[in-house]
């Protein structure tokens, strides 16, 4: 019995020692370091690459025609005038009365166009009009929308809607009553198309965003009656484009698009531009030294630009500029195309620039993750080290900003301020 009592705790000693050791693990060492932690220093060096870029160029037009996220209809005196074009290239030309055979449409009544308007940063005018013009002409070159400007005349006015600011708060769907006689003429003419140009008219400055047809719920909608018989349902039509026939599949992009009648040109020699109309992007290509991309760890990389003010239109309003990494390989020599092959916003560059067009001075963009992405192996690089600067409201805002480019004086051109660790010697005591 005594032997058993003696042996029992002894037999448990081995596993107990393991468990006790495991449960008392401690990792705090703040007190004994750095005195007892030699070799754990890290040299952080700073350098400035000036010039940081080897190529800068301003590219336009972004987004491509028809790819606007919203259609800006604006009237800003003689500074800015933009309009929206909406195509209804197929219209119902026959209908079937109840219990009868189909017959051609010869009656049009109660024609309306519904569009959703959203307020922009511009104050809503006291009173403004939304005019709808017939701009349909398939004989014109579709890729040159500015040829449609002569159609915005009183003689081609399809309808107009007066809106008072008191009845308009933020956003809402408005219905423009269209001239039924003119629509009947289009419907009864074989091959004719209905293309509506929307223009904002006001004695004050105003700007609204028209929801495009990409939004199936709130996109433009045409409605008209084809019979006096109320048992016959009204026809509704959503935008559709049949032209151009060639190249294939382009017609669908032009269901609705932005028509810029007048916009300030913010471009200046020796500067690169971002934003504005037409939408501009800046392509910046870097040639980082191999010692940096091959064998260092970059902690911070700040791209510094010197902004050149753009005076005039809303120069104190803020503009958000994002940087996106170019994914196009070396085989893509068309920079305009390369500027569309991008990593999603926020990937590798979380930072952004928030500037006002009229600002001046140095702005900084943190791109350390991007510089890490551009690491090389013995100098070999799969994709060019390039990024795109683009406005967050590209294609739906006239705001733009200019920055001094590569050809500017040394103090003005872009430069890259880098903090890096040349190498880590930890391991060998």
């Amino acid at each position: 019995m005594i032997r058993r009592l003696l042996r029992a705790p002894v037999l448990l000693a081995f596993p107990v020692a393991l468990l006790v050791g495991a449960c008392t693990e401690r990792l705090d060492t703040a007190s004994s370091c750095p005195v007892l932690c030699p070799g754990q220093t890290l040299d952080i060096l700073d350098t400035i690459l000036d010039p940081a870029v080897v190529l800068d160029t301003t590219l336009q037009t972004f987004p491509l025609l028809g790819f606007e996220s919203g259609l800006l209809v604006a009237t800003r005196g003689d500074t800015l005038d933009t309009r929206a074009i909406i195509r209804f290239d197929t219209l119902a030309r026959v209908f079937s009365p109840p219990s009868d055979t189909a017959r051609p449409v010869s009656y049009i009544d109660s024609a309306t166009l519904s569009v959703r308007l959203a307020k922009t940063g511009i104050k809503v005018p006291q009173t403004f009009y939304l005019d709808a013009f017939d701009v349909g002409d398939t004989t014109l070159v579709d890729s040159l929308p500015t040829t449609l400007l002569p159609f915005f005349t009183a003689g081609r006015l399809l309808g107009s809607l007066r809106i008072d600011s008191a009845s308009y708060i933020d956003s809402g769907t408005v219905r423009i009553v269209l001239d039924s006689a003119k629509l009947r003429q289009i419907v009864s003419t074989p091959g004719a198309v209905l293309r509506i140009g929307l223009q904002l008219r006001s004695t004050e400055s105003g700007a609204f965003l028209v929801t495009s047809s990409d939004d199936a719920t709130n996109g433009p909608l045409l409605r008209y009656r084809v019979s006096a018989d109320t048992l016959v349902a009204a026809v509704t039509a959503r935008p559709l484009s049949l032209f151009p026939r060639l190249p294939l599949n382009v017609n669908g992009d032009l269901v609705d698009y932005l028509l810029v009648a007048d916009a300030p040109d913010i471009r200046k020699a020796g500067r690169f531009s971002v934003g504005g109309f037409p939408g501009r992007r800046t392509y910046l290509r870097f040639n980082l030294p191999r010692w940096m991309t091959d064998s260092t760890a970059v902690l911070r990389a700040q791209l510094e630009f010197v902004q050149d003010p753009v005076r005039g239109l809303d120069e104190r309003d803020s503009l958000t500029i994002r940087a996106q990494v170019v994914l196009a390989g070396n085989a893509t020599t068309d920079l305009n195309r390369a500027a569309r092959l991008l990593a999603p916003a926020g990937f590798f560059v979380g930072d952004l620039l928030r500037v006002a067009p009229g600002d001046s001075g140095v702005v900084k963009l943190e791109i350390n993750s991007l510089v890490r992405l551009w690491r090389t192996n013995s100098g070999a690089q799969n994709i060019p080290s390039a990024l795109i600067l683009r406005s967050e409201l590209e294609g739906s805002s006239a705001f733009g900003a200019n920055f001094f480019g590569l050809s500017a004086a040394p103090g003005l051109r872009p430069r890259l301020r880098v903090s890096y660790v040349p190498n880590i010697r930890f391991g060998q005591p």
């Binding site: 037999l11 081995f14 401690r26 703040a30 005195v35």
Partner: protein
């Protein structure tokens, strides 16, 4: 037989080595465990040269009291104080595993013992100047792994008084190192982290002798002659040096009934590893002196038990900022037979004190050895 097997199964499912932290004892390439079995630890290392559970003297393999399988666990509980601040840490070690077998006068054995344990971790906050701005930062550094002495040895009884042994050593192992510095996300500064593996290889040969000049005196002596030693970082040759030579001798007196008094002196030429480190690494040759007393206790299950006491003074190979680290310890332990004498637990406690470079460190080792003789 069943009980040891149950214990082995339990050991197998328990967690592996735990991490400790930067301290006086884990400078350089790490802490030298001494390659002593639990019984020798309890005796201040004094019987190291005549203890078959200590992988020092290959001639000791032929001692009749050897176990066929021997394993050891040795957690260390450590307190390190620097400038009024103190840290506590724990390191779990499995410093030795020995298998032996013999036929008449010849005994052979394989063993794997920890030569230098470099297992630690530390995390601390400081500030770093980045781009002209002082930013808060967190440094994380850790090392896991050890240099292991794998030995194949044979021992031979020349006659009733003399045993000789030969050991071939392969030093192997790796250190898995992690080093990183991180900054708060709000600073926009990225962090760095490096994962490194350093592999080691080395060769040595050892010769041993056990001589019994009288019935009450035993002398054990051995020497290890170091060959080449290399360190590789990932696939690159990092450095090469020489495995430290070692020489040691034990005198054990058994003239008092049921009592053994032993003393040992050991010298290891650690400085031969100098080329394995950077110029900042300070490495010193070290002496290890210990005395111990063992008395036979009551018989349990037909086999004797033991009580042990020891004192030890030694230098550690790797210093701090050029200062040599010394270690003094007092130890004690017991040995309890199990399974009718087919197994034995050696349990020891060792209290060690170290000091160097204004830092003081106290450590408590619990060493448990389990020997099995099927």
């Amino acid at each position: 037989m069943r009980r040891p097997l149950r214990l082995l199964a339990l050991v197998a499912i328990l967690p592996g080595a735990l991490r400790a932290q930067g301290a006086l004892s884990v400078q350089g390439y790490g802490y030298p465990t001494g390659q002593l079995g639990s019984a020798s630890v309890a005796l201040g290392g004094a019987t190291g040269e005549i203890d078959p559970s200590s992988a020092l003297n290959p001639a000791a393999l032929s001692i009749p009291s050897r176990f066929s399988v021997y394993m050891q666990v040795q957690p260390e509980y450590r307190r390190t104080a620097v400038g009024g601040q103190a840290d506590r840490s724990t390191t779990m070690r499995f410093p030795s595993f020995i298998v032996t077998g013999g036929n008449r006068r010849l005994t052979a054995g394989l063993s794997a013992t920890t030569l230098l344990d470099r297992t630690w971790s530390n995390v601390y906050s400081d500030s770093q100047l980045v781009g002209g701005t002082l930013l808060p930062s967190v440094l994380t550094a850790s090392s896991n792994g050890a240099i292991t002495d794998a030995r194949a040895a044979i021992a031979y009884w020349l006659n009733a008084r003399v045993q000789v042994g030969l050991g071939l050593h392969a030093l192997t192992g790796e250190n898995r190192l992690s080093f990183g510095r991180s900054f708060d996300a709000s600073t926009g500064v990225g962090g760095v982290q490096q994962l490194t593996t350093i592999n080691y290889s080395g060769r040595a040969v050892s010769l041993g002798l056990i001589y019994l000049p009288t019935k009450v005196l035993a002398v054990g002596a051995s020497a290890r002659l170091g060959g080449g030693m290399e360190a590789r970082q990932d696939a690159l040759d990092l450095a090469s040096a020489t495995v430290p030579d070692r020489v040691g001798v034990t005198f054990a007196y058994t003239g008092i009934p049921n009592t053994t008094i032993a003393a040992r002196f050991d010298h290891t030429g650690w400085s031969s590893m100098r080329d394995l480190g950077t110029a900042q690494m300070s490495v010193f040759d070290a002496n290890d002196v210990g005395i111990g007393l063992e008395v036979v206790g009551p018989r349990i299950a037909g086999a004797p038990s033991y009580a042990r006491l020891g004192l030890r003074d030694r230098g550690l190979p790797f210093g701090v900022n050029g200062d040599k680290v010394g270690e003094r310890s007092i130890s004690g332990g017991i040995a309890i037979p199990v399974a009718r004498g087919r197994g034995q637990f050696d349990i020891s406690l060792q209290r060690a004190a170290r000091s160097a470079a204004g830092a003081k460190e106290k450590a408590l080792f619990l060493s448990i050895g389990l020997g099995i003789r099927p």
